[in-house]
């Protein structure tokens, strides 16, 4: 083993320690939100006892005790900092996290395995906010998410339209000439099809873009690279080989931010959910209201509810303070069988 190899391994280990510490802090934040504070003194004693047993010649019990006391005392400071959490589906570095950072960079993004976990954790109060993708210019609507929105009792308080730019990421110092395979979510791989073909790289589908980046950083498979966000490069200590490798520059995803409470600001956009009687012209009557008031619709989606019955998602441009909007909503309420105001909010766009 050369000095250079040792240095590379040390860098990797330091990075892993940091990642683990971050995950530990995230768990502490979650436990604080639940309100059940873990018995600190007990925890400390338990942990330190375990560590004492496991310490060896190189890691003395004194060093361990000091190290873990530092970690625990840092954790204890977390509640006083008043952090707000935002849940997203995927691993750290997912495009949902990229969008959450654009919406509000002061929030702490917490990864979730499933979309349902995002919604249930906002409902339970574990997270202050949740962010989910609702539609994509290439992939269409995210139907799984629409079902969950329908069933969750939450408000929309923000929206982000994000241009998706994929990067080819490799391990630090990797030689581009040795790359053969590229891991990523199948949709991301498809969107970079020509790039991969031109450079004779074989696409290998993986469950998630950020998950692929994490796997590359941890397992370092030979001759491999990943397609993921540039945030992943930063988070997993990977090197950007090439930015903007997507074949078409038309790839945009729209995200909605949910919370338990309604948005206080007047907003410039509004989302509603409604259903109408199964009779001729009922949907037309609803749309007519918006047309007559001169309100611009930005999205209308029908989601199957039960067999043969549909619920409509509708977004339009309008503010809470606009009387025209208030009147339109009152009228719509009267001619629909089910009506829910999802919220007024501002939408930000990021190129």
């Amino acid at each position: 083993m050369s000095l250079d190899d040792i240095k590379k391994k040390l860098d990797k280990i330091d990075f892993q320690i940091l990642k683990l510490l971050n995950t530990r802090m995230e768990l502490d934040l979650k436990s604080n939100k639940i309100g059940k504070h873990l018995e600190d003194s007990q925890l400390t004693a338990d942990v330190i006892e375990k560590i004492r047993i496991q310490s060896g010649a190189l890691i003395t019990p004194q060093f361990c005790e000091k190290l873990f006391k530092d970690i625990i005392s840092e954790s204890k400071k977390l509640p006083s900092k008043g952090y707000q959490l935002i849940g997203f589906q995927g691993d750290h570095g997912a495009y949902s996290e990229v969008a959450s950072r654009i919406w509000n960079k002061n929030l702490i993004p917490i990864p979730c395995n499933e979309f349902t976990e995002v919604f249930s954790s906002v409902t339970s109060g574990l997270f202050d906010f949740g962010i989910v993708p609702v539609e994509n210019t290439l992939g269409g609507i995210v139907s799984q998410v629409n079902q969950l929105i329908l069933n969750a009792d939450l408000y929309v308080i923000g929206a982000i339209e994000l241009s998706i730019h994929h990067c080819l990421l490799g391990l630090p110092g990797a030689d581009h000439r040795e790359l053969r395979v590229v891991y990523s979510h199948y949709q991301a791989l498809e969107q970079c099809h020509h790039f991969l073909l031109r450079n004779k790289l074989e696409p290998v589908p993986y469950y998630d873009t950020a998950g692929a980046a994490k796997m590359l950083a941890e397992k370092a498979p030979k001759a491999a690279a990943v397609v993921a966000s540039n945030l992943c490069a930063e988070l997993y200590n990977l090197e950007i080989i090439k930015e903007n490798i997507e074949d078409f520059n038309q790839n945009k995803t729209r995200f909605l931010v949910f919370a338990k409470q309604e948005n206080k600001a007047a907003g410039s956009k509004c989302s509603i959910i409604f259903s109408t009687e199964h009779k001729a012209g009922t949907l037309f009557r609803v749309l007519e209201v918006f047309a007559s008031k001169g309100l611009n619709l930005t999205r209308i989606e029908s989601i199957p509810n039960q067999l043969g019955s549909f619920v409509f998602f509708l977004d339009f441009e309008g503010s809470k303070n606009d009387e025209n909007v208030v009147k339109a909503l009152e009228e719509v309420k009267k001619i629909t069988t089910k009506f829910r105001l999802m919220g007024f909010y501002d939408e930000c766009k990021e190129e």
């Binding site: 004779k200 930015e243 490798i245």
Partner: protein
């Protein structure tokens, strides 16, 4: 000349190569920039300066062919990413050298023109590889090559399907040692006679002396060259390669003024 089926000028219109908004072979093209991409700062500063002076394209090496294996070998892909950023900021198309057939597809992802350096003029596997891509190739004359050998190399590229070849006279080895090479300006009208391809001149490598670059730039234009390529470094004394032949941005700005004047004058002479 029988072997120059594609390169030869017989019965062919002069080739004009479109690169973004430029037309090589029709417009005057001045390519300027550092010998090597050394850092983001160095490249961005130089790129801005040459753009302000009126250069049309940015040059800069990411993969460097050096006489010694211990000399700076270039930043590789990192260097290409810096050039890409310089293009985003200045809008100048990028000309950069490719050394290795395995790098051709990668360099194409970042560059607008692939340069084949003097030492690789007869690297036939590399010529075939750049012949397969859809980016223009700037083919430098081998420092030890005759004009016909040089055109044979252009034929290799065109034979693979890439019709967009720009030739570049950069000086040849003679017994003269005062200059780095001997600039063969008679090659310019000769190329115009023999082929339909555009030809530009590189007085930086040909002379290796800053004081000789300006006169040779002007002489090249007078000989009918379609353009020039000039090494410019924002701080030549600290350049990691070819520091003795780089112009400062100030010198280059003055040179550009003279080049433009002469170009206008040449227009009144020829037609």
């Amino acid at each position: 000349m029988n072997n120059l089926k594609l390169v030869g000028s017989k019965n062919k219109k002069r080739t004009i190569i479109k690169i973004d908004n430029l037309e090589v072979g029709k417009d005057l093209i001045v390519i300027a920039g550092p010998c090597s991409v050394e850092s983001e700062e160095q490249t961005m500063i130089t790129a801005q300066k040459v753009k302000e002076a009126g250069a049309h394209m940015l040059r800069g090496g990411a993969f460097k062919p050096r006489t010694s294996p211990y000399a700076f070998q270039g930043l590789g892909i990192k260097g290409l990413r810096i050039l890409e950023k310089a293009k985003q900021v200045t809008g100048l198309p990028i000309v950069t050298e490719v050394l290795d057939p395995r790098d051709v597809s990668w360099v194409c992802e970042f560059a607008d023109v692939l340069q084949i350096g003097t030492r690789n003029m007869q690297n036939f596997s590399l010529l075939k590889e750049v012949g397969k891509v859809n980016k223009p190739v700037l083919l430098k004359r081998g420092m030890y090559s005759t004009i016909v050998e040089w055109l044979g190399s252009a034929e290799y590229i065109m034979n693979e399907g890439n019709a967009n070849v720009i030739l570049c006279e950069r000086g040849i080895r003679t017994f003269e040692t005062y200059t780095r090479n001997t600039l063969d300006l008679s090659a310019v009208p000769a190329i115009k006679e023999l082929t339909h391809l555009p030809v530009i001149v590189d007085p930086s490598h040909a002379t290796g002396k800053p004081s000789l670059i300006e006169p040779m730039c002007l002489a090249a234009l007078a000989s009918g060259a379609d353009g020039l390529t000039v090494e410019v470094h924002h701080n030549p004394a600290e350049a990691l390669s070819d520091k003795d032949q780089a112009l400062t941005p100030k010198e280059f700005t003055l040179l550009m003024k003279k080049i433009k004047k002469l170009h206008t004058f040449m227009g009144t002479l020829n037609y």
